[in-house]
């Protein structure tokens, strides 16, 4: 049995060929010369013979002999030692050094000569790489900026924002804001809490020596602010700056605005013609990479006792501002969070039990706020970590595109260098030397490209900043980190881009290339085709992504919102004095023929910020739920063109209305469980004060289309309600001269208010809710354009190379009667095939990825139509065709006499 197996094995084993292979493998050792190899072959045979004589099969004998024989390396070394006269080893004769410094000059000369001789290719190569690198650098700068948010605070790792999640009647809302009384309670009762700072936003009128300034970005805060956040003091210091009522901290910019200088300690600023503040410190402007920026800080104690603020300070259910805490070193935030729950229960437990709602406090690390927070009531527009990922990916892709180009072009051109490779090899160059040479060349090109890229980035940065709403300084390009990153990129692109040509060319066999046999395997390189397909896939996916983003933002802007947003001028009523005189102001304004309806409300579509818990008459308290609330006068529905589906609008002819009645939207009516029968029922913000629902409004979008329509109640407010709540006076303009009307409004405003007129148009304002999406769309489109550019440069290079390779074929075809159009088509066809394939790969991928990861963010979305994809496909084909056909046509119209003259 065993013998049978052995025989069978040896039958399949060809000893002669095995020995031949073994001998061949010896040749890679330069110390072993041909004679040696023959010798060694003899010895191996002798050994095998003897082993066979001992009864082993040929195969076993060979394997054993091979094993017992030393490896080629060791043999080579021994042979070398047998020859050398030097005692200290060194290189065997015939083995060239890995690197010959004397040749560097030659390498450089050859590289520069190639650059000069092949201007077009060099240009495409360098330009493509430069654009790719520039795009990559821009994105990296952007990513670095996004990731740098708030990390300048020295205690950033111990700073947390207290967030509050409320569950009322089954609705869960997670807020970035938290109840103010919680902060001192936590600090007093949880030992790990070192200090806290609460922030209340304000936009007061500042009066300095009789001159008036509208300020925004003013926060009322606690003395702990400067313990938590690190800021640079120009005047004063953090310990005392906010310690007492009436303290005011200005940023450099605000100080200059108010006083024209920064050494203003002790100067007085009056707010709202109401109270005086004393400047206690001036600090550097808040860095742009902060999740919130401010222009001035006022000690919260200044206003804490005021009637309208007291409830904010004391009521655990009145959430109006942000709370930050600083934990002690090595405190465990999770443990603190648990203690916070206990503290909250102690202070607000009774009320929570009564209402059947719950309130959860959480700690959000400072570093997470900019990119990872998705809460209601953020101070400022925040970023999104997913965009950081997506953009990093895009940067990597564009870099890969540029590298592929580089590889493709260099490989295609390598046929022309076959002789150089052959000659170098004959002269003793080894594969390693050639690989080093070619990699060195590509690194040199990468260096040239990166210099151009840095210049490009410098030029593009201002517009990029505008587009991305960033303030990245060009100086950041010159930092140590950037330079290291750039050096890394250069090395990476140089080596990555040069690797394939280097490996490919260094493998040329000298005998073959010197005979002129190179390039046969090159024309139909499926590897290069695959690279082109890959490049176009990425470009096409980016184009499709851009179009999808744009079509979604367009959809959001053009979708019928359920109310008439056109020609509504909204005046910001931040001045309490103006609010009190609003009737007179409205009457004044309405005297203008161009102004129709006017309404004073607490919110307008796009800016509804009040949420109240709505209770229903005859229903248990636990069914109460939070609803967005607009306090309004009689004319909200008329001014915004909202449809009433049941019941009626507020009306002055019903005297009972003036006591305060409700309009609710359909969603709210459904939420109450009454549906359209809600008319006539009573609801209220307080169980003691129930009011009738007089009508149901057709659902309209009062929030961005990212959110589904939520329950909304509109409460007809009394004059005193509106004096407190009326934030906006909205004016419906009739057809007519808008600038003139605006000028009229400004004049009338100035007659009644010290404050500047703050206004916006409802449609523009609503559209601005999608500013973030539009910004992302613009950024992606810019990079898509770059990717397409890079891909086209590559395609152009390859097409011209292909055309050149086929010059003779084209000449012959022409002589034989082929038409120019036919020839151009012939040359273009192959490339178009690749682009079509790329479309087939990229479009479904883009559809899937955007649908799954981006469009899913929107409650209302346009499904990207076939048209979008067709237009991307068409566009990519047209671009590719234009790129390729220029070369194709040039080749096709060339005179065959020129191309065939050689023969």
């Amino acid at each position: 049995m065993t013998d049978f197996t052995k025989d069978e094995e040896s039958a399949a084993f060809d000893l002669e060929r095995a020995i031949e292979r073994w001998t061949k493998s010896l040749r890679s050792q330069s110390a072993i010369e041909d004679g040696d190899a023959a010798d060694l072959e003899g010895y191996l045979s002798d050994k095998i013979e003897e082993l066979v004589g001992q009864g082993l099969s040929e195969k076993e004998a060979f394997e054993r002999a091979e094993r017992e024989f030393a490896t080629g390396d060791a043999l080579g070394e021994d042979f070398y030692r047998s020859r050398t006269t030097s005692r200290f080893g060194g290189r065997p004769p015939g083995q060239p050094p890995r690197f010959m410094p004397a040749l560097v000059w030659n390498y450089l000369k050859i590289a520069l000569r190639k650059l000069r001789r092949q201007k077009a290719y060099s240009f495409i190569n360098i330009a493509g790489l430069a654009v790719g690198l520039a795009a990559c650098l821009l994105i990296l700068l952007w990513v670095r900026d996004e990731l740098s948010y708030d990390n300048y605070h020295e205690k950033a790792d111990r700073v947390y924002r207290v967030t509050e999640t409320e569950e009322i009647g089954g609705s869960v809302d997670a807020f970035a804001v938290a109840a103010f009384p919680s902060a001192p309670a936590f600090a007093a009762e949880i030992p790990e809490v070192e200090t806290y700072a609460r922030l209340l936003y304000g936009a007061p009128l500042a009066v300095v020596e009789g001159r008036k300034f509208d300020l925004t970005g003013v926060f009322f805060t606690d003395p702990g602010f400067f313990d938590i956040f690190s800021h640079v003091f120009l005047e004063g210091d953090g310990k005392t700056a906010l310690g007492a009522p009436g303290n005011l901290v200005l940023t450099e910019e605000t100080a200059r605005k108010l006083f024209g200088r920064t050494d203003v300690l002790g100067r007085t600023v009056n707010f709202n013609n109401d109270y005086d503040l004393n400047v206690t410190a001036v600090i550097r402007n808040v860095p742009a990479n902060s999740h919130f920026r401010f222009n001035a800080l006022v000690s919260l104690s200044t206003v804490a006792g005021r009637a309208d603020i007291r409830s904010i300070m004391e009521d655990w259910f009145h959430i109006a501002g942000w709370v930050y805490i600083l934990l002690k070193d090595r405190a465990d935030p999770r443990a603190v969070q648990e203690k916070m729950a206990a503290v909250a229960l102690k202070h607000a437990g009774d009320e929570l039990r009564q209402s059947g709602s719950s309130m959860t406090f959480r700690l959000q690390p400072l570093a997470d706020i900019h990119l990872r927070s998705r809460l209601e009531g953020e101070i400022d527009d925040e970023g999104d970590i997913r965009y950081v990922y997506v953009f990093s990916l895009i940067a990597a892709f564009i870099l890969i595109l540029a590298c592929i180009n580089f590889m493709n072009l260099a490989t295609a051109r390598s046929a022309g260098r076959g002789r150089e490779v052959g000659l170098r090899k004959v002269m003793g160059a080894r594969r390693g030397n050639l690989i080093l040479q070619f990699l060195g060349e590509s690194v040199l090109l990468a260096v040239l490209a990166s210099v151009i890229a840095v210049i490009l980035v410098g030029l593009a940065l201002p517009s990029f900043n505008r587009m991305a709403a960033k303030a990245i300084s060009p100086a950041s390009l010159l930092g140590v980190g950037s330079i290291l990153a750039l050096a890394g990129l250069i090395l990476l692109t140089g080596v990555l881009g040069g690797s394939y040509p280097a490996l490919f060319m260094s493998g040329f066999r000298p005998a073959a290339v010197l005979k002129g046999n190179v390039g046969r395997g090159l024309k139909r390189s499926s590897f290069r085709s695959a690279l082109v397909v890959f490049q176009f896939s990425i470009s096409i996916a980016l184009m499709a992504g851009t179009l999808i983003v744009f079509s979604q933002t367009r959809y959001m802007k053009t979708r019928d919102l359920g109310f008439d947003k056109s020609r509504v001028l909204v005046l910001n009523m931040r001045d309490a004095a103006a609010r009190r005189n609003v009737e007179a102001l409205a009457a004044d304004l309405k005297s203008n023929a161009n102004i129709g309806e006017a309404t004073l409300t607490g919110g307008v579509p796009g800016s509804v910020v009040t949420q109240m818990v709505v209770s229903m008459e005859g229903r248990p308290e636990r069914e109460s739920f939070p609803a967005w609330t607009i306090w309004s006068d009689h004319d909200f529905v008329k001014t915004f063109g909202i449809t009433i589906v049941r019941g009626r609008d507020f009306s002055r002819s019903f005297s009972s209305d003036s006591a305060g009645v409700f309009l609710v939207n359909e969603t709210a009516a459904r939420r109450m469980g009454w549906g359209l029968d809600a008319v006539g029922r009573k609801i209220g913000f307080d169980t003691d004060d129930m009011r009738e629902i007089v009508g149901i409004m057709k659902d309209f979008h009062f929030e961005s289309l990212k959110n589904p329509i939520a329950p909304l109640v509109v409460r007809l407010g009394s004059a005193s309600d509106l004096a407190l709540q009326g934030r906006f006076l909205s004016l419906k303009l009739r057809q007519g001269d808008v600038p003139a009307t605006l000028a009229f409004v400004k004049t009338k405003w100035a007659e009644r208010s010290d404050r500047g007129l703050g206004f916006f148009f409802a449609d523009e304002y609503f559209d601005s809710l999608y500013g973030g999406e539009e910004r992302i769309g613009r950024i992606i489109s810019a990079f898509a354009v770059m990717a397409v550019l890079v891909a086209c440069l590559g395609l152009f290079g390859l097409a011209s190379y292909a055309a050149e390779q086929r010059t003779k074929e084209i000449g012959v075809r022409k002589v034989l009667g082929a038409s120019e159009a036919g020839l151009a088509a012939l040359l273009s066809r192959e490339f178009l095939k690749w682009v079509l394939l790329a479309n087939a790969i990229a479009l479904p991928a883009a559809y899937f990825i955007t649908g799954r990861f981006w469009l899913a963010n929107f409650a209302y979305r346009s499904s990207p139509g076939v048209l979008v994809f067709l237009s991307v496909a068409g566009l990519s084909l047209i671009i590719a065709l234009l790129t390729v056909s220029w070369q194709a046509v040039r080749a096709a119209v060339a005179n065959p006499v020129d191309s065939l003259r050689y023969e």
Partner: protein, 113 residues
């Protein structure tokens, strides 16, 4: 098993001595050494072959390709004139060392002075 240093030092005289008995080829030389030493001297191919080439280059050996029974070429080495002299010289040196070693171990052999 002989020490590495001894193997290295003794290779050349042994090769010369073996070839004094007539021409021989590499593999056979290794086998002879193993047989004569009773397996105590184990030469490896990578050590011997380069050495043979080296000795040939030094003019101690000459070589010739011969077709063996399996129709395979094999290189046979033999001593040259110089090789013969070298062999005698080497053998004399080794005997001298051997002599001294014996006397050191047995003082009776030391001639009276």
């Amino acid at each position: 098993m002989a020490s590495k240093a001894l193997v290295a030092a003794s290779t050349k005289p042994l090769v010369l001595a073996i070839l004094r008995n007539g021409e021989n080829y590499g593999y056979q030389i290794i086998q002879s050494v193993r047989r004569l030493s009773g397996g105590k001297l184990e030469w490896s191919e990578p050590m011997l072959y380069p050495l043979l080439r080296r000795m040939e280059r030094e003019g101690l050996l000459s070589s010739e390709w011969k077709l063996n029974e399996n129709k395979r070429f094999r290189r046979y080495f033999r001593l040259t004139e110089k090789g013969l002299r070298e062999q005698e010289h080497e053998t004399a040196e080794w005997s001298m060392v051997n002599d001294v070693l014996a006397k050191v171990l047995d003082p009776a052999l030391i001639p009276a002075s």
